[in-house]
Symmetry: C2
Subunit: 251 residues, 2 copies
């Protein structure tokens, strides 16, 4: 994707390079910038983002764009603004940490090890339970989807993007089989964040071992309808992933 050049060449005096990083829209880019700055701790809870006009001028954007960015952050619980008191950063426990965007912002730059630990812990709670439910409720179609994903995983290894996509498909199929919407969206969010971490795991070193047999174990248990076995096998899987990520992060 090419980041197209600046739109307004009428005014060349802005030496500041264009803010639009990963966001496609202008306010999206601003929200991304401010969001990462808040998540990284540059702005602490209770801090004040002084001045709509001042900030808009500093970023060389119009007040409207800045305002819409603030709306996005407000919607995610990161900030709140009141007529006279300016825009304050909310305390951490009001943040919407499971929001995919917030999760993404939390993982740009330095990933807070403590938070990563809590995420994996949550995953270790949820995913085995999901596997247990899936074993009880899966139908033939679910199994077929899982099997296909498994085949894809075997064909492309986990070092390729296609292989990781197949891994995601496998887990998604399990979630689908739980017939639980809340579980699905939660695991999807966590999974996306975890995938973010696996990216620099893969960047730092090749995958140490082949996780395929463990995946097959999960599938077999689900196919057999054995909830406890499925939960146990999935537990092994997430512990494995945790080990890998932990060793990758300790460098």
């Amino acid at each position: 994707m090419k980041t197209d050049s600046i739109s307004t060449e009428t005014d060349d005096k802005k030496a500041t390079k264009d803010v639009r990083g990963p966001g496609r829209r202008l306010h999206g880019a601003i929200a991304h910038k401010l969001g990462t700055e808040i998540l990284s701790g540059k702005y602490q809870p209770g801090d004040i983002l002084s001045g709509e006009v001042a900030f808009a001028e500093e970023l060389k954007v119009s007040r409207s764009a800045y305002r819409e960015a603030i709306q996005v952050l407000t919607a995610k619980g990161l900030v709140a603004s009141r007529p006279k008191a300016g825009t304050r950063v909310m305390p951490r426990d009001r943040w919407n940490l499971l929001d995919p965007d917030v999760l993404g912002w939390a993982f740009t730059g330095d990933p807070d090890v403590e938070f990563v630990r809590s995420l994996f812990e949550l995953r270790a709670i949820v995913e085995p339970a999901a596997a247990r439910l899936a074993a009880q409720r899966r139908d033939r179609d679910d199994l077929k989807t899982m099997k296909a994903a498994l085949a894809d995983m075997r064909r492309h290894t986990l070092t390729t993007e296609a292989g990781r996509a197949a891994d995601r498909d496998f887990h998604n199929a399990i979630l689908q089989a739980t017939r639980n919407d809340a579980l699905m969206v939660l695991s999807a969010s966590i999974g996306a964040a975890v995938n973010w971490t696996t990216q620099f795991k893969q960047r730092s070193r090749a995958l140490p071992r082949n996780p395929m047999p463990d995946h097959v174990l999960v599938y077999d248990a689900i196919a057999a309808g054995d909830g406890e076995a499925a939960a146990a096998a999935m537990n092994v899987l997430v512990e494995l992933a945790l080990d890998d990520t932990r060793s990758a992060m300790e460098e």
Copy 2:
């Protein structure tokens, strides 16, 4: 933690016919209106919210207000808009169902029984695990907070608002003791939604039984550091709540 409640109510004494029902700001009210309409199924995924200007005119608000409302909905994954193609409602699996606002919108009007079930199921997975972790990691202060909440619960019964607040405090203290941020925010979201349901449980009928002994069991197990017992006791608690809500919803 003294949850200072920011003024959520606006005096509607002015007889202006504007849309702001439960809303704080104008765009907040619009987001609320559109959000509930999407959640209730009035707008199906794939539907198009035709025309920025047309919509703004129909609602008797300016384009800015409508635009900012759309930003909020976009931030929560409910809609996405592209030039020329209008603003489309996203498929359900892109929705941010754990967002507190979205959760609230889902419970205005008719609560989808299937979704409520999935929420309680998730709660039945997460809360016992949280109790287990709390039993392993709690310190003296955590126990003191739980004990105080328990005392408050005994003083005011669960039929009063103060009593329900004490119940929330008790659960929050447990979450706090897990030392897991992700777990905390997740359970907080779910708890808020569940509390919404308990409101019409309480509205439809008085609470059938006194849940205090079960709460004490959870506390004792956590105080003793027995993770398994804590998980089991908490499991009893959520099953009880599920039964109550189920019977209340079947009327």
